[in-house]
Amino acid sequence: MNTRTGTGREIGGKVQAPRRQLAMVFDLNKCLGCHTCSISCKRQWTREEGMEHQWWAVVNTMPGKGTPRNWEGMGGGWNAAGEPDPSRIPLRDEFGDAWEFNKAEVFHGGKGRETFLQPRNPDGSKPGWGPNWDEDEGGGEYPNSHFFYLPRICNHCTHPACLEACPRGAIYKRDEDGIVLINDKQCKGFRFCMEACPYKRIYYNHVRDVSQKCIFCFPRIEKGVAPACARQCPGRLRFVGYLDDENGPIHKLVHQWKVALPLHEEYGTQPNVYYVPPLSPPRVDANGRVDPSRPRIPLDYLESLFGPRVAGVLEVLKAEKEKKARGEPSELMDALIVYKWPDDIFPDFTQDPAEL
């Protein structure tokens, strides 16, 4: 149905890849869970009416239920046979609704000593979930409690389930950079894309009756400016670039050093956001003895997210880290540290938007 381009579609059993593909790599060892990415995206793109509840860039505490709640169990994407895996549309409260606060009462109503700020859903009900509801709960038991942060955006997949689900051809994948966009003049708010996306990163705008999602800040990209979430990231962990640029950090992290892994590759959509998995301190036994052979974040949990290569990647990271600690050079560690910002983290998108 797509009248714009066949890119991203499966035609005759083959996925039509774009000429080039932009990608991001998130180094989870550097994410401090500050949500500056979420806020910078919100300020830039989702401030209009009907978008109040939309958070195109979220950060989830893991292990956790995520955004929307329990999205990992919802289905969508492609099964092993290459067939669409039916799913459902997440509810408003599963994403977390657009809360309102009783600010007038607390700040100006003279009740500052009697009550406190409380969130309410637009229909007056008490929220049951939010974009980061289970922040810092994590997993494990003391003294082996653990958590890490998982930033999530639209994965701008090579084989996007959303694109192929849309009966109107309203979703297209750009041939020049692989960014997946919803044409909201063509969209009629049928929300099949929200069902089909296994990462559940598509929102419904009930005012405009259209589906909306992360646009990889394409208007910034076109002017050489990095996406807002990446440029504003205080931890400087969001690498941006073309997958085929052999001199760029994305290609090196994904293909040369092979330390950046896709999230839930088994969903079959070939996501273009990659993660450097998190190292963790060693486990401590009941007597307080440290067991350096076992990481506090269970390996099988990380494998459930990032696949069977996690253990190998963590070994590489550990070895390179130790090299660096011994004063030996490590090109990989230097790349992950990002000595020179913004040149080392998104070399093709260093333009300062303030200077445009």
Partner: protein
């Protein structure tokens, strides 16, 4: 079906409860589920393969005109009124009429060479119907949402919806069916049960044309 000419005002014709409708000849239009094989994407076909949809068996249709305006009254059983879009899974009840813009337009949303004009009503904006043009499945686009008027009532057992328009319109003339007293034209219907998340091609539709004789 005969679309009788009356001297009732356009305002009366637009009223679903107007007495004049009792005298209009009624046609029962049989509906069937829009087949899974006709769904435009694999996702939709797979998702709905084993789920019931398009279960509404029939629709009662009446039509009247007064020389300048024409109105169609559609009635169907639907005990669940779905008229809001608040929750992400809210899909309002809806109905549509399809008119070919050329003689050979196929029944299934037209084709590239043979466009069709759709009159689309949806319960979340009951007073306004939309005129769309389509040249095949998945291609419909809005022509305007001003040329058609609508009024609807739900009595707990079903919907009564009147969609009305001027017989001929000047704006977007090529993308809108033009109706002349004395002519015979064809139409067909679709109904969406919002409570069953029906939208797009997930609907009940009339698999054959209904001939309308517009009284001179």
């Amino acid at each position: 079906m005969l679309v009788r000419r009356t001297d009732a005002t356009t305002e009366v014709l637009a009223d679903p409860a107007a007495r004049i409708w009792e005298g209009a000849s009624a046609q029962t239009v049989n509906l069937m589920q829009a087949p899974a094989a006709m769904q435009p994407t694999r996702y939709i076909a797979t998702k709905w393969r084993d789920q019931p949809y398009g279960g509404l068996a029939s629709l009662a249709v009446r039509g009247l005109h007064n020389g300048s305006g024409i109105a169609f009254r559609l009635q169907w059983r639907d005990a669940t009124k779905n008229a809001v879009r608040h929750e992400n899974t809210d899909f309002p009840d809806a109905a549509a009429m399809l008119f070919p813009l050329t003689a050979d337009a196929p029944l299934f949303m037209g084709s590239e060479a043979h466009p069709v004009n759709l009159w689309y009503w949806r319960a979340d904006h009951p007073e306004r119907a939309r005129s769309d043009v389509a040249t095949g499945i998945g291609t419909s686009r809005v022509v305007d949402d001003t040329s058609l008027s609508a009024r609807a009532t739900h009595d707990g057992e079903g919907w009564t919806v009147v969609i009305s328009r001027a017989l001929r319109i000047g704006q977007h003339a090529g993308e809108s069916v033009q109706i002349v007293p004395g002519q015979t034209l064809r139409t067909t219907f679709a109904v969406w049960e919002g409570g069953n998340l029906e939208r797009a091609g997930i609907k009940a539709f009339a698999p054959q044309w209904l001939e309308l004789q517009i009284e001179a």
